[in-house]
């Protein structure tokens, strides 16, 4: 029997006078690689923040690894979308990764071998060790994204939440990130939730797909969920899904 790591039951979230999520019920099991899809504003990032304890649900029950969501949970690693940084920022790649280890602790970090080794290992795992001392402002989008993933992995989390890591990356780099994440997830048996706009780079890696639209959601294998019928039902308006040459195209989404 697979272990249940994330459990949402009839979760509702209202912010101001907007209902973002309505009656969301999802169960996610250990080691699953889940892609979260849906139009802008559908609540994908919001869902992640609910799991991180940054938002509180208006009603419904959420359990992560058997407990309620809370901030400062080291079992969850979080990497948001990289932002364009000032080129002059005086922070090196290894400093950014280091945040994952002790960025939340008071005081300053005294140099010690144990810390350096942990950071170097994390950098090696995302194939960024050779750039360890580069200023972050001078790294490319793909390189910065890797750093954020390395940072998220430093506490040996059981769950990895990635918010649009592939946006603004060209196809080759996006694919590289997908390969990296898949490798890490399988080797560490981590549950991964990855928010994205395009399912295609992930088709060969994901176990299930979570589609969010119109304050509701549908979860299941890609071929089950991403169909004209399912999505039209979810969106409550006509959506057409075309599968061709091994790629899926969703038409009519962003209205």
């Amino acid at each position: 029997m697979q272990k249940l790591v994330i459990d949402l039951q009839q979760v509702q979230l209202t912010l101001g006078n907007r209902t973002i999520l309505n009656d969301i019920t999802i169960s996610i099991y250990e080691g699953e690689f889940i892609a979260i899809l849906g139009p802008n504003g559908a609540g994908k990032s919001t869902l992640l923040k609910l799991l991180l304890g940054l938002y509180k649900s208006t009603s419904g029950k959420i359990q992560i690894l058997g407990k309620s969501p809370r901030k400062g949970n080291n079992e969850i690693g979080y990497a948001p979308q990289h932002r364009t940084l000032e080129a002059d920022l005086a922070l090196r790649a290894r400093d950014v990764v280091g945040f994952g280890l002790d960025g939340n602790k008071w005081g300053i970090s005294l140099p010690n071998n144990h810390r350096n080794n942990a950071i170097n290992n994390a950098l090696k795992e995302v194939d960024m060790l050779y750039l360890a001392d580069m200023p972050v402002g001078k790294l490319s989008g793909g390189e910065q994204q890797r750093l954020l993933i390395a940072q998220a992995l430093l506490t040996n989390p059981r769950i990895l939440l990635l918010d649009e890591p592939l946006s603004n990356l060209d196809i080759a780099h996006a694919q590289a990130i997908v390969t990296l994440v898949t490798k890490i997830a399988r080797s560490r048996n981590i549950t991964v939730l990855l928010v994205t706009h395009d399912i295609n780079p992930l088709l060969s890696s994901v176990d299930r797909v979570l589609y969010m639209a119109n304050t509701h959601s549908a979860i299941g294998k890609p071929e089950e969920v991403i169909t004209s019928k399912q999505l039209s039902q979810l969106y409550d308006s006509p959506i057409e899904v075309i599968t061709t040459k091994g790629r899926i195209f969703v038409i009519g989404e962003e209205i």
């Binding site: 101001g16 907007r18 973002i20 919001t46 923040k49």
Partner: protein
Amino acid sequence: MLELFNHQFIQYAFIAGTLISIICAIVGYFVVLRSQAFAAESLSCVGFTGATGAAVFGLSSLVGTFFFTISVALGFGVFGKRIRDRDIEVGMVLSFALGLGVLFLKLYTSNATEAVGILFGSILSVTTNDLYLSLFTEAVAFIVLVIIFRPLLFASIDPEVAEARGVPITLLGIIFMVLVGITIAEAILVVGVLLVFALLIAPAATAQHMSNRPVTGIIISVVLGLLFTWGGMLLGLFFHVPVSFFIASLAALAYLVTVPLHHFITPHFYNPQPHQDNEI
């Protein structure tokens, strides 16, 4: 109260003040439209250096101010976009300019009263020469404004389309910056280096919140500018308190009451995403 107007310095003050506030209102309108408030603020700091530097070389501070602000304005106009994004660099240059100004101040006079005039305005001590110089430059500025008015408006609101239609936006940008330089030098005369923002930006920014139509907006801006200047001068004379304080305060308060209030009352059309990061 009306006997005040028998004095020449008061007459000069009102004449100069009226004309300057008109030009400020119009130029200021475009400054706000083109989001160049920061550049304007920078020019006023440079004005300080010009004014004090002029004093060291024995020139009228108005002349020195003109010289400096126009030169730097030319620089801004030519290097344009590259400057706007780098406010740390501009900040550093400005600090240096102010530092130079302090030096000139010390060299020129060992007492600080002169500095006060430059910093806080000296509209009540306008000399005849200054008045003629102001009148002349304002006339020139006004004529130039009238000539470039339509293309400037077009280029300010929609630069890409304007360029496609043959409007020389770079040249216009430079001419406009020089106009701003001239205007600021004048404004410094009235309210001093520190309070230029109030005379140049406040009436225009308030007007833009009251009307979307350019000509209406400019008229409102001029009316407001005149109100604040006259009101400020009368209050200042009545209470024996620096005129610049009242002009600036009236302008600032009018803006602060109109604009943020407007934001609170009218609903926002833009609905921000729920997870907007709200941190400073």
